[in-house]
């Protein structure tokens, strides 16, 4: 892991401290105030804010622009970049552009398929895949070259993130894929939302056995559940999500007005377990359109003040 990039997230992780990041979805419109408001809610509670790139294939303000708004308020962004909408020319160009604006973290993703979004008639690009994107960003940083081998006058030195889903199939392949992402250049990994902690731990064990936790910083993904309905929806309708039946029963077992509290309790228990899991170097909180709860979760977990 080369240390040319220099952001707070990288610094915290390299020091061996437990990192906290949270997600921020840009608005469906051009109002920067929405981003700033979300930023305000997260300020002081997280080390970096992860900004989605047209998530669920719904057109939103660009990740680069929203990251820039956050930067201007003194927050460190992690720019998500999906390979669904741009070919390699546009991707490389945007990476350089983002770095020139002060963005030093990138999360390389495939992207949700356009058929799930609001414009399913769109053409997808997928010129390169997320693995290729990781390698591209790494080559830019380490060798100072673009994909054609052209020497860049100032290479973007991004801290590189990638995603991993310990709950998707085929399970035995998930660790191989993680290893591939690390070899391609991933510095940190953000996992899918963790509800099935046993399966997550099994995956972590496999990762440790392969020596992968020595090479990469794994941030466990958490999303607080608000209701039994949400738990069921996530389990049944969201691809690659695993909410155990026992958890659905648990949240369904409390009176409706107490479901949110129970969901937060589950979230805290998960965070506590993650902190005890060897090789987990931080958490990533994905409180979808519920940024105001992030502070409470981080404080509740005793993870404040942030360094």
């Amino acid at each position: 892991m080369n240390m040319k990039a220099s952001g707070k997230l990288q610094e915290i992780l390299s020091k061996g401290e437990f990192a906290v990041t949270a997600e921020c979805g840009p608005p469906r419109g051009a109002n920067a105030e929405v981003v700033r408001k979300k930023g305000e809610l997260l300020k002081g509670y997280v080390d970096a804010v992860n900004v989605t790139d047209n998530q669920t294939a719904i057109v939103r303000m660009s990740s680069i622009a929203a990251c820039t708004h956050l930067l201007q308020m003194g927050l460190e962004p992690v720019m998500q970049m999906v390979v669904r909408d741009r070919n390699r020319i546009a991707l490389q160009s945007d990476i350089m552009g983002a770095y020139s604006l002060g963005i030093t973290n990138i999360l390389c993703l495939s992207g949700d398929h356009q058929s799930f979004g609001s414009q399913p008639d769109a053409l997808n690009v997928f010129d390169i895949d997320s693995m290729n994107l990781i390698r591209t960003v790494q080559t830019m940083r380490e060798q100072g070259k673009d994909m054609s081998g052209f020497e860049l006058n100032e290479p973007p030195a991004m801290f590189i993130g990638a995603a991993a889903n310990p709950f998707a199939d085929p399970f035995e392949y998930r660790v191989i894929r993680l290893a591939k992402k690390i070899d391609a250049g991933a510095d940190f990994i953000q996992t899918q939302c963790i509800y099935n902690i046993d399966r997550f731990k099994e995956w972590m064990k496999m990762a440790r056995e392969e020596g992968l936790t020595e090479k990469v910083h794994i941030l466990g993904g958490v999303t607080p559940l608000k209701s039994a309905g949400m738990a069921k929806f996530m389990n049944n309708k969201v691809a690659g999500m695993d909410v155990p039946e026992s958890l659905i029963k648990r949240i369904a077992g409390v009176p409706k007005e107490k479901a949110v509290k129970e969901g937060l309790k589950i979230c805290q228990e998960t965070i506590a377990q993650l902190r005890e899991t060897k090789g987990v170097h931080g958490i990533h909180i994905m409180a979808i359109e519920w940024e105001e709860i992030v502070g409470e979760i981080v404080e509740g977990a005793g993870l404040t003040p942030r360094p």
């Binding site: 495939s110 398929h113 591209t136 995603a163 085929p170």
Partner: protein, 222 residues
């Protein structure tokens, strides 16, 4: 083979609306096998159109003919007399056949009656699946004979996305996850190491992104 599907009759009626005398020209190769444009389909469509036009009070003369292959001049020639005596031709061939006819008969409108869908295989009677996108640079050797460019909705080269569950694709639960198939096959072949190797970005120049392709076989040119 090339798989196609006949256009809905309502659309065909609109396409042929300006003409009073048309030829429905079938093709006896790929589209015959997938029940879209062989001799039988020509006959059925002609009867249906005659009836539909009669109901609408529209006079139309429909002639039927089928050639062995519409994408080759040698076979198209057999249809030349019938083509020449009609105002328009409704071709039930694939897009290549339609264009081969259009190239040869410049003054007669050649109309498509089939939507060409993909290069595929007959999975079972009446079921066809897409297997190849004609990318011009076949990599099936490392993927256990299963093409991820064609059969993964995200064209992933380096393993399955996070949406693969129970062997099915997140985009369509009726579609097998191509990567699940690749992994299972490589396991059987004892080639799991292929999965660990990084697959570099695909060179799309051999595909359609380089513009329409041409294959020249000098050794066959007389």
């Amino acid at each position: 083979m090339i798989v196609g599907e006949q256009k809905p009759i309502s659309e065909i009626k609109e396409i042929i609306a300006p003409y009073k005398k048309i030829l429905i020209l079938g093709c006896g190769t790929c589209v015959k096998t997938c029940f879209a444009g062989g001799e039988d389909e020509v006959a059925v469509l002609a009867s249906a159109l005659r009836l539909a036009c009669k109901k609408d009070g529209k006079e139309i003369e429909i002639e039927e003919f089928t050639v062995e292959r519409q994408c080759e001049d040698e076979f198209i020639r057999e249809g030349a007399p019938a083509i020449s005596r009609n105002e328009g031709v409704l071709s039930l061939a694939c897009g290549a056949g339609v264009q081969a006819l259009a190239r040869r008969f410049v003054k007669i409108p050649i109309l498509p009656g089939v939507n060409t869908t993909f290069i595929g295989v007959l999975e079972k009677q009446g079921v066809f699946t897409e297997e190849c996108s004609g990318c011009g640079d076949c990599m099936l050797a490392i993927f256990g004979g299963i093409c991820p460019f064609t059969r993964c909705a995200k064209k992933l080269l380096n393993g399955p996305c996070g949406g693969s569950q129970n062997g099915k694709c997140e985009v369509n639960p009726e579609t097998d996850c191509a990567w699940q198939l690749i992994i299972e096959r490589l396991k059987i072949l004892g080639q799991m190491d292929n999965l660990r190797a990084y697959v570099p970005p695909k060179n799309w120049q051999t595909g359609l992104s380089g513009g329409p392709r041409k294959l020249v076989r000098e050794d066959h040119i007389i």
